[in-house]
């Protein structure tokens, strides 16, 4: 039993791999900031303080990318004086639900609102067996990622769930009547030398949009913009457009990514439903009930 919990802890935490970090190049975190173990090859914005940004390369997003503000979660911070954040953002005037959207949202019992034993969040990390799907993979625990560019596509490798996505750049159009999928059909193009825009459709509507349980339907269309702002940064913006669930498009995420060292190794962050169930049964559920009883 203890080995299973240890295994669960291991697969849920970042891994120290291979060589030790080069401490001389790292800036200390601000006093009072919660720190997380620095991964070998990790680079944060504070490491580049005082240095002149290098020029953005043209039509190039390739590399390993981390959260510019620092390690761990949330992956947000202040960029050029503006707060950029993790997913779960809401427009200033609130999420523009349709009646169906609001009804569906209210039927979702997130682990932020109820104890683990009472949630109906379908993903493994909440005790279910379903994948996160797209775009929740951007809105929930987006940590490090690798972007690869080939002549016919851009491939993104995500840490959470060891998931890959392929964005086609070979001129094909989005399908008109696609077979619904968890991860969608994605096409992308450069709108200028530094801005890559991705459009995605063909989503099944089964997964939740994000952790608070915002809904999505099979009418969802997602637009991502990856703007290479300098040699070390991408500004990533994600817009949600789902006319069944929302009355208008809204921005779900804006995040600054920073280029990591080439040797940065994405730690494995897999979820096993059977191990999670054991953990919830013996730790999370009793703990949640106890916490509830104390309220």
């Amino acid at each position: 039993m203890s080995n299973r919990f240890l295994a669960l802890g291991i697969v849920l935490s970042a891994a120290w791999l291979f060589s030790s970090p080069a401490r001389a190049q790292q800036a200390k975190p601000p006093i009072g900031e919660v720190t997380v173990p620095r991964q070998p090859g990790a680079v944060y914005d504070r490491d580049l303080k005082g240095k002149t940004p290098t020029a953005a390369p043209r039509r190039d997003l390739s590399g390993t990318w981390g959260c510019a503000a620092g390690g761990g979660n949330p992956c947000g911070g202040i960029v050029e004086g503006k707060q950029v954040g993790e997913g779960n953002m809401a427009p200033p005037d609130g999420v523009p639900y349709t009646p169906l959207g609001r009804q569906t949202f209210q039927s979702h019992k997130t682990t932020g609102a109820v104890v683990v034993a009472e949630t109906n969040d379908p993903i493994c990390w909440s005790g279910g067996r379903d994948p996160q799907g797209f775009p929740r993979i951007l809105f929930h625990n987006f940590r490090s990622s690798v972007i690869l560019q080939t002549p016919e596509n851009v491939v993104i490798l995500y840490e959470f769930g060891q998931i890959s996505r392929t964005i086609w750049t070979d001129g094909r159009k989005l399908p008109e009547h696609p077979e619904p999928t968890w991860w969608g059909y994605s096409v992308g193009k450069w709108v200028d030398d530094y801005t890559f825009v991705v459009e995605t459709n063909g989503l099944s509507g089964q997964p939740w949009l994000d952790n608070p349980g915002r809904p999505q339907s099979d009418a969802l269309h997602v637009t991502e913009e990856y703007k290479r702002t300098d040699g070390d940064h991408i500004m990533m913006t994600v817009t949600v457009d789902d006319p069944k669930m929302y009355t208008k498009p809204w921005q779900g995420l804006q995040r600054s990514l920073i280029l990591q060292a080439p040797n940065f190794t994405i730690p494995e962050n897999e979820c096993s439903p059977s191990i999670t169930t054991q953990y919830n049964s013996f730790v999370a559920n009793p703990g949640g009930v106890e916490a509830n009883n104390k309220k």
Binding site: M1, R4, A7, I10, V11, A15, W16, L17, F18, S19, P122, C124, G127, G128, R129, D130, P131, V146, L148, T150, P151, E152, V155, L157, Q162, I163, S164, R165, T166, W168, D170, G171, R172, P175, P178, T181, W182, W183, Y185, Q206, P262, N263, T265, I266, P267, E268, E270, C271, S272, P273, S274, I275, T277, Q278, N280, S281
Partner: protein, 291 residues
């Protein structure tokens, strides 16, 4: 006028003759519904490129060649003496604890304890020893990345000079392991992997592996259109000697070949299995510990 129709007919026929092979080789490029290209008798291929295994690869003889319902294709669990694996006592004991739905020890789906139908990660090497359909290999100067269609998973094989972790240092167990690779000649890429999470199975027939598992893959580019993947299992806790689990010829597909989504979820599982063994999205909790 008849000469014009004849000329047009000749042009159209010629166009069909000369473009058909190109279409066959493209096999549905730029299509969301790709048509795989498999080996045909009498075909010739161009020579193998140097140090290049990139592209989308499917089993050369057809999809059936990658479907290993009775376990690793080179050593299926079929009761034949030549396919009996060299189990240690622990290996045999662990095998008997597994209740697979394939191989000679198979049980019905309702009685199986195979973790994969419940959407536990397949992990490596099971992803290539279970239902190998299509995968994409991408090469960069310091790594090789392999994408698998089953559950959209990826593996990273490092070529930056790092060594595999020493198991004595207790590396974090990983479903997908730690992998390093190198070219042993201009057409052969060899990958070594270790550091595996022992909770996964080796294949669909429930063969076991431990945290001592070491996997060697050889990717041999034999010509322009072909790659032969050989997988060797070495796990001294479970097997008395290494054994070859797979030797699978693969066929190159068009660059625009789209990997089909094959995603584990309870909705998908119940749709596939029908109502025979309906499962909820919540795995059953284990029984309380005995006091």
């Amino acid at each position: 006028m008849s000469n014009r129709f004849l000329a047009l007919g000749i042009v159209l026929i010629a166009a069909g003759m000369f473009s058909a092979p190109a279409r066959a080789r493209q096999g549905g490029a730029q299509s969301w519904q790709p048509t795989p290209v498999y080996d045909k008798k009498g075909e010739n291929s161009a020579p193998a490129p140097t140090r290049d295994i990139s592209g989308v690869w499917v089993p050369a003889q057809g999809a059936q060649a990658g479907i290993q319902a009775n376990g690793a294709a080179a050593m299926p669990s079929d009761g034949k003496p030549e396919h009996e694996l060299p189990y240690t006592p622990l290996g045999r004991q662990t095998l008997q604890q597994h209740k697979p739905v394939g191989g000679v020890t198979k049980v019905s789906a309702r009685l199986s304890n195979d973790p994969v139908p419940g959407c536990d990660p397949q992990g490596f090497p099971r992803v290539v020893l279970d239902n190998f359909r299509a995968s994409r290999i991408i090469q960069t100067p310091d790594r090789v990345v392999i994408l698998y269609d089953e559950n959209n998973k990826w593996r990273m094989i490092w070529m930056d000079g790092r060594k595999l972790p020493d198991l004595k240092d207790n590396p974090e167990p990983a479903f997908w392991g730690y992998s390093v690779g190198k070219w042993t000649d201009d057409h052969t890429f060899v990958v070594e992997s270790n550091g595996f999470d022992e909770t996964s199975w080796l294949d669909h027939a429930g063969r076991p592996h431990s945290d001592a598992l070491h996997v060697t893959e050889e990717y041999k580019r034999t010509d322009q259109d072909h790659l032969v993947l050989t997988v060797t299992i070495d796990d001294p806790k479970m097997y008395t000697k290494p054994w070859v689990a797979l030797k699978l010829p693969l066929r190159l597909q068009a660059p625009g070949f789209t990997l089909e989504e094959r995603q584990c979820s309870m909705a998908e599982y119940n749709k596939f299995e029908g109502t025979a063994v309906p499962r909820t999205n919540r795995p059953a909790a284990p029984p309380p510990a005995q006091q």
